[in-house]
């Protein structure tokens, strides 16, 4: 069975690689390279796969899941400038893909029960763009 919990956070970012020139950054990232940054209302969907525990009837305790998502993602990232305030984005370009990879890393270790595991995270940067990541190489 799949269980999905949603969370939102609002953050600013800029997509620039300091090793590249202005023109190259502009070509690669378009308006996302504007030097002072811009923001999004990110929406995160965390999906866990597992069997309900025979005693509790739950795949994963939703209150605990909410606390994990807040501690690992929402509290450190909400109303922050990712490049300046949320490592590793001081040295990794915070594209939607890289933010999703970082969120997976943060959540994966904490969502591991004998009966349940992290299956997928979906990160919406806008309503028209999202990435799915399930831990694949």
């Amino acid at each position: 069975m799949l269980l999905t919990r949603k969370a939102e956070f609002s953050a600013s970012h800029v997509c620039r690689n300091p090793a590249l020139g202005e023109d190259e950054n502009r070509t690669l990232y378009g308006a996302n390279a504007n030097p002072h940054g811009h923001g999004h209302n990110y929406v995160l969907e965390v999906t866990i796969e597992g069997d309900p525990d025979p005693v509790t009837g739950m795949v994963f305790d939703l209150r605990e899941l909410k606390e994990i998502i807040h501690a690992e993602v929402v509290d450190p990232m909400d109303h922050r400038f990712l490049n300046h305030e949320v490592p590793p984005f001081d040295r990794i370009v915070p594209t939607t893909e890289n933010v999703a990879l970082e969120i997976w890393k943060r959540l994966h270790a904490r969502i591991e029960l004998p009966n349940a595991r992290l299956k997928n995270i979906r990160l919406y940067e806008t309503a028209d763009l999202y990435v799915d990541y399930g831990g694949e190489a």
Binding site: C15, N17, L28, Y29, G30, I92, V93, P94, T95, T96, E97, N98, A100, L101, A127, D128, L129, Y130, V131, D132, Y133, E136, A137
Partner: protein, 134 residues
Amino acid sequence: MTLTRRYRFAASHRLNSDALTPEENARLYGKCNNPFGHGHDYVLDVSVEGAVNDTGQIVDRQALDTLVQERVLGRVDHRNLNCDLPELQSRVATTENQAFAIERMLAREWTLPARLARVRISETARNTFELETK
């Protein structure tokens, strides 16, 4: 990793099968068989799959947008699909057949490094058709 990008287009169509009589078409397709056609604001989700490259991306958004615009949106937006889309001339213009046609329009000369993974079309907010590509 999979990246999904959402696009929109407005188009009209009419459901009518050459293999059926006018009465059978009217019965099967109901209002969708109206001879003058009707339209929708379609939502098209295109998913590409691949590894994150050294720019931190699976695919360049502008390159994906340009490809979808040139191959699909430029040909279907504000068009009558029955009249203006040769790919649907010999088929009923159902959203199922539109999904197959759009998948072929995209895949035929796919020039992006990430793999085309899925095409999903919503005819209205209530009807969605999804095609996994091989």
